[in-house]
Amino acid sequence: MMRELAYRLIRVLDAEGRAVGPWAPEISEEALREGLRDMLKVRAYDTRMTMAQRQGKTSFYMQALGEEAIACAFARALRPGDMHFPTYRQQGLLIANGCPVVRLMNQIYSNTEDPLQGRQMPVFYSERDYGYFSISGNLASQYIQAVGWAMAQAMDGKDGLSVGWIGEGATAESDFYSAMLFASTYRPPVILNIVNNQWAISSRESLARGSSPTFAARGVGFGLPALRVDGNDYLAVYAAAKWAAERARAGLGPTAIEFLTYRTGAHSTSDDPSAYRPKNDSEAWPLGDPVDRLKQHLIAQDIWTEERHAQAVAEIDIEIAEAQKQAEKNGTLHDGPHSSPATMFEDVYKEMPLHLRRQRQEAGV
C-alpha cells in the first residue's frame, strides 16, 4: 500500500555497488560520471570556501559534506525552468545545474561581482537563471512559497514544477505545515523534500520527529504520496526525483520525500559539534559516503577506475582553485572592494521613495 512507503527506505545501490531492486533508474553512463563529478565539485568547493572563511576572507560558510548526492542527483533529474526553493545546504543544485563556481564565490566574498551586491550573508544565494530561489534566513518560509509558485505555474497550464527543500529540524516550523496543507488542498505540481541529516545544529532529528517513526509519515497525515529514500544513494535519489517529477507533470499532484542522510560536518563555520556530539559519530554512520558509493558503482560497472577518479579529483581541485583566484580578484569581504554603499538603499522599493533618498543623502554615499 502507498502509505507504507513512508515507513520504509528506498535504496538502489547495494553493499557491492550494484543497482538493484524496483527503483533502479534508467540512467546513462555519461550521466553517472557527471553525477560523480558534480559531487566532487561540491566537495571541493565546500573545502575551499570553508578554508577561505578560516583565513578571514569572509564571515561565514556552510558546507554540505556527506549530503552531496541529494541536491546533485535531484537537480539532474529535473528540467530547466523548474524552480528549487532551497535551504542553505543545497549548493549542489547550483553546481549540478551549471552555475559558474566563480559566481557563487563572488557571493561568498560579498565582492564587486556579487550578484547580490554584498547584501546577503554568504551562502544565501539567489540564482533565478539556474532555477534557484532566493534563500531566506528564516527557516521554512520558502516551503510554502514553493507551493505558491507551483499553483501559479498550474494556473498558466505550464508543465514546469517547483521543489520545496527543508531540513528535518526545520520541518518543525509552521510554514512546513502551511506548505503540506496547501499542497494537500490544491494538489499543484510541487515536490516537497525533507533532508533528514539527523542534526539540526545541536538537536537530534528525533526532537522534530516526535512520536512518528519517520518524517515521510507527515505526508501520510495529509493524504500525500510520501517516500523515504536513502539520501546517500545517488541512484535512489535520482529515481525518486524522476518518479515524483513525472507524477507532478502528469497532473497527479504533489509528493513528499524524506531523504535520509547525515550531516558529516559542523552546522556552519560558527559551530563546533564537539560540544554536543561524539567525535566518532560521523564515522559510525551506516549510510556511507555518497561519493564513495557512486564511485564504487561506476567501478563495478567498469565505466570508471581509481585512476580516473584520482585524476578527476585533481582536475576539479584545480578548476575550483582557479575560480577562487578569479573571484578574489573581485574582492573579499574584509579587504574589499565591494559594491558602492549607495546600493544599500536600492532595491528596497522599485523606485526609491523620498525618505530613502533623504537618508541616502544623509549617509553621504
Binding site: S126, S141, W149, M151, A152, S178, L181
Partner: protein, 338 residues
C-alpha cells in the same frame, strides 16, 4: 460615474484589475464562492473562475506565503486577511520575505502583492476585531502601507496598489465600509450615496500612492489623519470652530512628507489622530518628523490623539475611540498655547 459604497468600490477595483491583467489573482478565507465576510469579492469567482478567485484554508502564513511564491513567479496576488487582527500569523512572511525579496535577491525576484485587510474599531469588535496595526507595517523597510478613507480613493488606490511592484498593505477602515463616520455614534449613519467621494468611475483609474489629499484647507492648525479619523477631524474642527487644515495621508509609506511639511510650516500647529495604540504608533513617526523638520515653525507642541495603550475594549468602545470630543480638546489645547 456611479454611486458606490466603499465595499463596492473595492470590489470594482479588483474587477477592473482582473479584467485588465490575467495575472491578477484574488484569494483568502471565504473570498471565493461566498465573496468574503464583508462581501468585497462577491461575484469575482463567478466572473473570473475558480483559478482567479478562490477560497483558502484558514492559514494566514499560508495565504501570504503562497502569494509570495506566486508573485515571484509573475502573478499579482491580491489577498484578503479577514481582519487586520489576524495578520500576525502571516507577519513573518511579510517582513522577512515579501518586504525583502527584491533586496535580498539583487532584483531577481520581486513581491508585487497586495494584502487587503479590514482595520479599526467602532463596530463593537472588541479586543480581536478592532485593531489598527499600520505601524507594524510602516516600520518594515520594503512594505508600502495604504489606508483609504472613501470609495473614490479606495478604488483608485487599490488599482494602483495591485499595479505596484512592491508589496502593499491595504488597510480598509471597516467602520467606513458603508458610510463616512465622524465618531458621533449616537447619530444616524450617513451613507456614501450622500457623500461626494461616493461618486466613483466604473472604469479604470488610479490614485497614486504617496500623495496625501487636503480635505480642508485651513490656516490655524494642521491635522494629520487617515481612514476613519478624517471624518472625526472634520467634525471636531467644525465643532471647535478652528480653521484647521485637514490632511488625509492616504499612504503612510511612502509618506507625502512634503505636503506635511508645507502645511505645518504654514499653520505652525499640528494635531495627529489615529485609532491605534499610542506608544510607537504611526503618530509617533509623524510627530517626530514634524518636530524634526518644522521645529522652527511650531508655535505649540504637536499633540497626538490616539487609541489608549490598552487592548480595544468591547463595552467601552466609545471611551477608547478617539472621537470628536477628544480631538476637539486637542485642537483647543494647541490653539491655547499659542
Amino acid at each position: 460615474m456611479a454611486r458606490m459604497t466603499m465595499i463596492q468600490a473595492i470590489r470594482s477595483a479588483m474587477d477592473v484589475a482582473m479584467a485588465r491583467d490575467d495575472n491578477v489573482v484574488v484569494f483568502g478565507e471565504d473570498v471565493g464562492f461566498f465573496g468574503g465576510v464583508f462581501r468585497c469579492t462577491q461575484g469575482l469567482q463567478e466572473k473570473y473562475g475558480k483559478h482567479r478567485c478562490f477560497d483558502t484554508p484558514i492559514n494566514e502564513s499560508g495565504i501570504v506565503g503562497a502569494a509570495v511564491g506566486m508573485a515571484a513567479y509573475g502573478k499579482r496576488p491580491c489577498v484578503e486577511i479577514q481582519f487586520a487582527d489576524y495578520m500576525y500569523p502571516g507577519y513573518d512572511q511579510l517582513v522577512q520575505d515579501a518586504a525583502r525579496m527584491r533586496y535580498r535577491s539583487g532584483g531577481q525576484f520581486e513581491s508585487p502583492l497586495v494584502v487587503r485587510m479590514p482595520t479599526g474599531g467602532g463596530i463593537f469588535g472588541g479586543v480581536n476585531h478592532s485593531q489598527s496595526p499600520e505601524a507594524l507595517f510602516a516600520h518594515v523597510a520594503g512594505l508600502k502601507t495604504v489606508i483609504p478613507s472613501n470609495p473614490y480613493d479606495a478604488k483608485g488606490l487599490l488599482i494602483a496598489s495591485i499595479e505596484d511592484e512592491d508589496p502593499v498593505m491595504f488597510l480598509e477602515p471597516k467602520r467606513l465600509y458603508n458610510g463616512p463616520f465622524d465618531g458621533h455614534h449616537d447619530r444616524p449613519v450617513t451613507p456614501w450615496s450622500k457623500h461626494a467621494l461616493g461618486e466613483v468611475p466604473e472604469d479604470y483609474y488610479t490614485v497614486p500612492l504617496g500623495k496625501a489629499a487636503i480635505r480642508r484647507e485651513g490656516a490655524e492648525v494642521t491635522m494629520l489623519v487617515y481612514g476613519t479619523m478624517v471624518y472625526v477631524a472634520e467634525a471636531a474642527a467644525e465643532e471647535a470652530g478652528v480653521d484647521a487644515e485637514i490632511i488625509d495621508l492616504r499612504t503612510l509609506l511612502p509618506l507625502d512628507m512634503e505636503a506635511i511639511e508645507k502645511s505645518v510650516q504654514k499653520t505652525g500647529r499640528c494635531v495627529i489622530v489615529h485609532e491605534a495604540t499610542r506608544t510607537c504608533g504611526y503618530g509617533a513617526e509623524l510627530a517626530a518628523i514634524v518636530a524634526e523638520n518644522c521645529f522652527y515653525h511650531l508655535e505649540s507642541p504637536v499633540v497626538r490623539v490616539t487609541g489608549w495603550d490598552t487592548p480595544y475594549p468591547h463595552a467601552h468602545e466609545w471611551d477608547y475611540f478617539p472621537g470628536p470630543a477628544r480631538v476637539g480638546a486637542a485642537l483647543k489645547k494647541v490653539m491655547e498655547k499659542a
